[in-house]
């Protein structure tokens, strides 16, 4: 059995097989050779994993983000944050952080943020004599907070896998996301002061007002999404659909960024990204179900209880595991395979599963940009045309900052749970 569900997927994964195929091969072998379960369960689980209303929010948020990522929305947000952050030392770096955080509250995927914000901000930082490695490292690292700040797509997938509520998870992600943004911004100011660049400009109130006027429609998206969910007006899925309609209206009629053809094009891109994710969701759900049938999570819980670990030690161990996995595997696959194994352990130790969800997101966010394999590094490389070595060298300080934030978020649960009592 451990051959089918452990060794086979491990080997195929290392050999570079597509993840859905790795999981599908493992469950097929387990069903045919090792288990006495009707084969129909395979189809039922593949189908049942996608036939879930809450998962609709995934393509909807991707679509809203695709629309808002085209055209001028990012530029408008950059101008707004820049007008606000102008007087600070390192204002361009702070602007990069602030804009990425706001953009994260519109879209749920972090690669798009790295590419969109990076293309605007890295050339500006270069002109202002920021060291290349610093700007590249900053853009690459800051995009990862998108999976912590709502609406986050990995959080929806975690919610489905852990049977948790999306609104609670979203509320729990807000402060940790802002905490990381604040730490990054503070580091930018410190670095700019120490190396003596980007002294900032005088505060210009009329410019700020103008920028606000130009970006107010873009800022409406997060207001609708979060206001709608927490005002009790929409479910998260509905808020995502409303965000799509809003994004289509704003980009088509207000900003005139997209044509009708592009509205369909964005939907085609969304279909591909969604299918990429959902085929793994479907296959991972069969895999997770077989693990449960084999009582693997229960055995793990028993084993962990035997070690007599406290909640703090369990969290520390989970962090190490998630960091290691996150450096090699994309967040969604990691969530899908590890959630059914880790959540029972965490629950048995009396740890809040919403808090744990946020801990998981921060870990996987770090994996997104940790050298050498973090996926956002390659996004930045292709979007910014910078040598990968430069990005590597610039990333380490940011990895350390995220690790400090991870320690805070892990051991001070109230940072995550404060907003939802």
């Amino acid at each position: 059995m451990s051959f089918a569900l452990g060794i086979v997927p491990g080997v195929l994964l290392l050999l570079g097989f597509p993840l859905y195929l790795v999981l599908l091969a493992a469950v097929s072998i387990a069903l045919v050779f090792f288990m006495n379960i009707p084969y129909a369960a395979l189809h039922q689980n593949l189908f049942g994993a996608i036939d879930v209303f809450a998962l609709l929010a995934v393509p909807f948020f991707i679509y809203a983000g695709e629309l808002m990522g085209r055209g001028s929305v990012a530029r408008r947000l950059v101008d707004l944050v820049q007008a606000g952050a102008g007087p600070l030392r390192g204002s361009l770096g702070v602007t990069t952080v602030g804009t990425s955080a706001i953009f994260g509250a519109i879209s749920g995927a972090s690669a798009a943020t790295v590419a969109t914000i990076g293309r605007i901000m890295v050339p500006e930082m270069q002109r202002a004599r920021y060291p290349d490695k610093f700007g590249a490292g900053l853009v690459t690292a800051v995009g990862a907070i998108d999976i912590i700040i709502p609406p986050s797509i990995p959080m929806i997938v975690y919610a489905a896998a852990a049977n948790e509520s999306v609104p609670r998870l979203y509320a729990a992600g807000v402060l940790p996301g802002l905490l990381i943004a604040a730490l990054l911004a503070a580091y930018v100011v410190f670095y700019a002061r120490r190396h003596g660049f980007d002294p900032g400009t005088r505060f210009d109130a009329p410019a700020l007002r103008r920028a606000l006027g130009r970006s107010v429609w873009a800022l409406g998206a997060p207001v609708i999404i979060l206001g709608g969910i927490y005002g009790g007006i929409f479910s998260p899925t509905e808020s995502a659909a409303v965000a799509c309609v809003y994004a289509a209206l704003v980009t088509r009629f207000v900003y005139r960024d997209v044509s009708w053809g592009e509205i369909v094009d964005c939907a085609a891109v969304t279909v591909r990204i969604t299918a990429q994710i959902f085929i793994i969701v479907a296959c991972a759900s069969v895999y997770a179900w077989l693990l449960t049938v084999q009582q693997v999570p229960q055995a793990l819980v028993a084993w962990v209880q035997q070690q007599q670990l406290g909640p703090l030690e369990i969290l520390a161990a989970a962090n190490l595991l998630l960091l290691a996995v996150g450096c090699f595997v994309d967040p969604l696959s990691a969530i899908l395979v590890l959630t059914p194994l880790l959540v029972p352990i965490v629950k048995a130790a009396g740890i809040d599963t919403v808090h744990f969800g946020v801990v998981m997101m921060v870990n996987l966010a770090i994996g997104l940009f940790t050298p050498p394999f973090g996926i956002n590094i390659f996004v930045a490389q292709s979007a910014l045309k910078l040598p990968v070595e430069t990005i590597y060298r610039g990333l380490w300080p940011f990895v350390l900052i995220y690790l400090a934030a991870l320690a805070l978020v892990t051991y001070v649960p109230s940072i995550s749970l404060f907003l939802w009592r």
Partner: protein, 154 residues
């Protein structure tokens, strides 16, 4: 033949994009209906998730056609060309075996739905329709794998 399959994939992608837009519109209409007219469309939730099943599985074939499925190819990128040659045969074999097995189970499930004549609880959609999304997607996925193997893209 090759051109035909390419065109088919593009057409499927377009159709799925329109299905997605319709799903969003349906969801939005439900929100508007609830607040403006105090009522919702019966079975709208079912129609949306069924659409998602088709998008997920047929879309997976479209993604395969572009060679865009997520994989961890850190090691695989460093394989020698002869190892890569073995790997593409291995990958095709696994797709045929595992994908074929899953396809077989899906087809059997769809058949049983047809026999039972089961309908969905709210929208009264015949259940073989959403379930055949899985079968159609897997069938196309296998076809795409063969096609890409023949063109030495896999």
């Amino acid at each position: 033949m090759e051109r035909a399959l390419e065109r088919l994939m593009r057409a499927i992608e377009r159709i799925l994009a329109l299905v997605l837009l319709a799903t969003i519109a349906l969801n939005f209409a439900n929100v508007v209906g609830r607040y403006a007219f105090g009522r919702t469309i019966t079975g709208a939730d079912e129609l949306q998730t069924y659409a998602m099943v088709w998008i997920a599985f047929l879309g997976a074939a479209v993604v395969a056609g572009r060679g865009e499925h997520l994989r961890m190819d850190i090691l695989a990128r460093r394989f020698s060309s002869s190892t890569k040659g073995v790997m593409r045969i291995a990958e095709l074999a696994v797709i045929l075996a595992a994908g074929g097995f899953a396809l077989w189970q899906s087809v059997r499930y769809v058949e049983s739905m047809l026999r039972l004549g089961a309908n969905s609880p709210m929208a009264q959609v015949p259940m073989w329709m959403p379930h055949s999304g899985v079968a159609a997607g897997l069938a196309l996925l296998i076809l795409v794998a063969l096609w890409r193997f023949a063109r030495r893209e896999l």
